[in-house]
């Protein structure tokens, strides 16, 4: 080491710790600024809009109306009390219910299927690298493209799925999968699970590869059968990775928009929170009302994630149990 000057002379006599913090701050600053501009500011604007009567053709002329977009009590001259606002809007609650149903079912299916795929990929076999790459294809296709592709495959007149099911005798007449209220949600779920299972599989695989091989060997010598090994050893050990994967997927699923917008536009059976708030914001010219729904969507997400981390004791610090 060639220490030229004593360190004390520099940085106005800051301690090493302070110098480190200062450097850290300057490294973090660009990120913090970018995050503020693209995340915090739009969010704050949305919350603000939700408390005004802003409309799309007069974005800056909105007046403060408090919580009226959320809930407003009207007392008519004849004495009847009426409630208005998002919180008593059946269309909104239908969207909330659709979103939750979609999220829970899709994430559960994706986790189970993803784990199975990961277990297969974790085994040693020839061409494993190729299979690992191939399985990612659904995930790599842009959602709009895959949604359009599936829309054609699910088409009631010309769709290949109807044709195949008909020829196999599984159905007696063609089904309008995406248009029928009864089947629209299944269609959306199917496409989403097809698309996202590879992502889950990859995250599960990363978790599986963290489990040291000799633990399995110790279990082999202990004479524990493979099913028990999975539930008693593998699953507890990959639980932290699995919990993080599930929360990533859950956040994505709760905000789902593109797939539904393309595959089943305007179907009350699949309309989600994101879809309905966009509808109000842009199409129905109820900008403030849509903002209120966006704000609620954010609040629901925040509550859900907090609960999940707290109840699931998810370790997001990355330190993990060794």
């Amino acid at each position: 080491m060639t220490a030229s000057k004593p360190a004390i002379a520099r940085d106005g006599g800051l301690s090493l710790q302070q110098q480190r913090q200062k450097a850290a701050f300057w490294f973090l600053a660009p990120m913090l600024i970018a995050l503020f501009c693209v995340a915090a500011w739009p969010l704050l604007r949305t919350v603000w809009f939700s408390l005004t009567d802003t409309s799309l053709n007069n974005l800056y002329g909105g007046k403060w109306i408090g919580f009226d977009n959320y809930l407003r009590v009207q007392t008519l001259s004849n004495g009847t009390v009426r409630y208005k606002g998002t919180l008593v809007d059946p269309a909104w609650w239908n969207a909330v219910w659709n979103t939750l149903r979609f999220s829970v079912v899709s994430v559960v299916c994706e986790t189970v299927l993803g784990l199975i795929v990961a277990l297969v990929l974790n085994a040693e076999f020839k061409g494993r690298g190729l299979v690992r790459a191939a399985i990612l294809i659904p995930w790599a296709i842009p959602t709009i493209v895959s949604a359009k592709m599936w829309a054609w495959m699910l088409n009631d007149q010309y769709g290949i799925l109807n044709d195949m099911a008909l020829n196999l005798g599984l159905i007696s007449s063609k089904i309008a999968w995406t248009a029928t209220t009864d089947t629209a949600m299944y269609a959306v779920l199917m496409v989403d699970i097809w698309k996202t299972t590879p992502f889950m599989a990859l995250l599960c695989l990363a978790g599986l590869q963290m489990v040291p091989r000799d633990i399995y060997e110790a279990a082999k010598i202990d004479g524990i059968n493979p099913v028990k090994v999975f539930f008693k050893i593998t699953l507890p050990l990959i639980r932290p990775a699995l919990m993080v994967a599930v929360i990533f997927r859950m956040l994505d699923a709760l905000r789902i928009f593109d797939l539904i917008y393309v595959l089943t536009p305007n179907s009350a059976a699949t309309k989600t929170m994101s879809v309905i708030s966009r509808e109000n914001l842009i199409e129905f010219d109820k900008f403030a009302y849509g903002s209120a729904q966006s704000t609620l969507l954010f609040a629901i997400l925040a509550v859900f994630v907090s609960l999940y981390i707290w109840l699931g004791k998810v370790d997001l610090s990355g330190e993990g149990g060794k």
């Binding site: 040291p212 633990i215 060794k322």
Partner: protein
């Protein structure tokens, strides 16, 4: 409790032969150490005995019963891994009891066995802890405890001390030796690359090299009558001195071996040279003497030393302590 016989055991991975035909009998209650440089196949051989790997050809017998196709859990073995391989999410107690629990043992019997093993290893105060809350030495003891609870016929150790620091290694080595004495009818097989561990623990040592047995014998046999240059150089610390060229030709061999403690500093000895380096270990001194061969001769001198680096000394081997090897590395006796 088991006599283990290996008959022409071979193991290959695809085109690569790792174990190239080994015949070995390990007696009941014996402490056998497999030793050799890395890549010699010693760990693979242990895994073949454990059943974690299948042998490619040959026969393996436990108490005269062929176990080639018997599952690891059915062989009556217990294994201690280099990395301990404890279940990280289970307490020490559960780690030790896991096998029994899933084998549907009665809770009382299980508790008794685990507590006995824990007492023996002095880890009975740690039973509630998780592996991550233990030190390396304690983890290793839990791993050994887990093996004891299995009540095995054969105990397998795969480099169990290599993750411990020097002081702990010596202490744990002692405990393994004690364990062997207290379980004297259990056959133990121990893999290490450390010849000191091999020498101190083993009843018999099997030196492996390149997938073959180089020599099998008691530590003293290997030390005093090595069967090849390889064994002579591998067993003993510091390494045996090897002299070639005219030094060897004078004694009618290709390579001449002499251990450091078998060289005396004399006047008018066989070899003369300058001391180029000296190591003082307190009890012993090691002199590195440049006598004109490929490497300096290492000479052990007890007690305090009157010579210093730069001095010229004359050396002579002790009677009957020269090891002569032919051009194939085999001893000439």
């Amino acid at each position: 409790m088991a006599k283990i016989e290996l008959k022409n055991v071979k193991k290959s991975y695809g085109a690569v032969d790792v174990i190239k035909g080994i015949d070995l009998t390990i007696e009941k209650g014996e402490f056998m150490v497999f030793v050799g440089p890395s890549g010699c196949g010693k760990s693979t051989l242990l895994r073949l005995i454990s059943g974690l790997e299948e042998i490619s050809s040959g026969d393996m017998l436990f108490d005269s019963e062929r176990v080639n196709n018997v599952l690891p859990s059915q062989r009556g073995i217990a294994m201690v891994f280099q990395s301990y391989a404890l279940y990280p999410h289970m307490s020490v107690y559960d780690n030790m009891a896991f096998g029994m629990k899933l084998a549907k043992a009665s809770p009382e019997a299980m508790k008794k066995r685990v507590l006995e093993a824990a007492k023996l290893l002095q880890i009975d105060h740690l039973l509630e802890r998780l592996p991550k809350q233990l030190s390396g030495g304690q983890r290793q003891r839990v791993a050994i405890g887990r093996a004891i609870v299995r009540d095995p016929r054969v105990f397998l150790f795969d480099e169990p001390l290599s993750n411990l620091d020097a002081a702990l290694r010596v202490q744990t080595r002692l405990e393994i030796a004690k364990l062997h004495h207290s379980m004297s009818d259990v056959t133990m097989i121990y893999v290490t690359h450390d010849q000191v561990e091999a020498m101190t623990l083993a009843d018999r040592i099997a030196v492996l090299r390149d997938g073959r047995l180089e020599q099998v014998g008691t530590p003293a046999e290997l030390y005093e009558r090595p069967n090849s240059i390889f064994v002579a150089g591998f067993i003993g610390s510091p390494k045996m001195n090897f002299l070639t060229g005219k030094f060897a030709a004078d004694h009618g061999c290709t390579t001449l071996g002499i251990r450091s403690e078998h060289i005396d500093v004399v006047t008018g000895g066989m070899w003369t040279g300058q001391i180029v380096h000296a190591e003082d270990l307190g009890s012993d001194n090691y002199l590195f003497v440049e006598v004109g061969s490929d490497e300096p001769l290492i000479v052990r001198q007890e007690g305090k030393l009157t010579m210093k680096v730069g001095d010229t000394v004359s050396l002579s081997p002790k009677d009957g302590q020269l090891h002569r090897f032919d051009q194939n590395g085999k001893p000439i006796r």
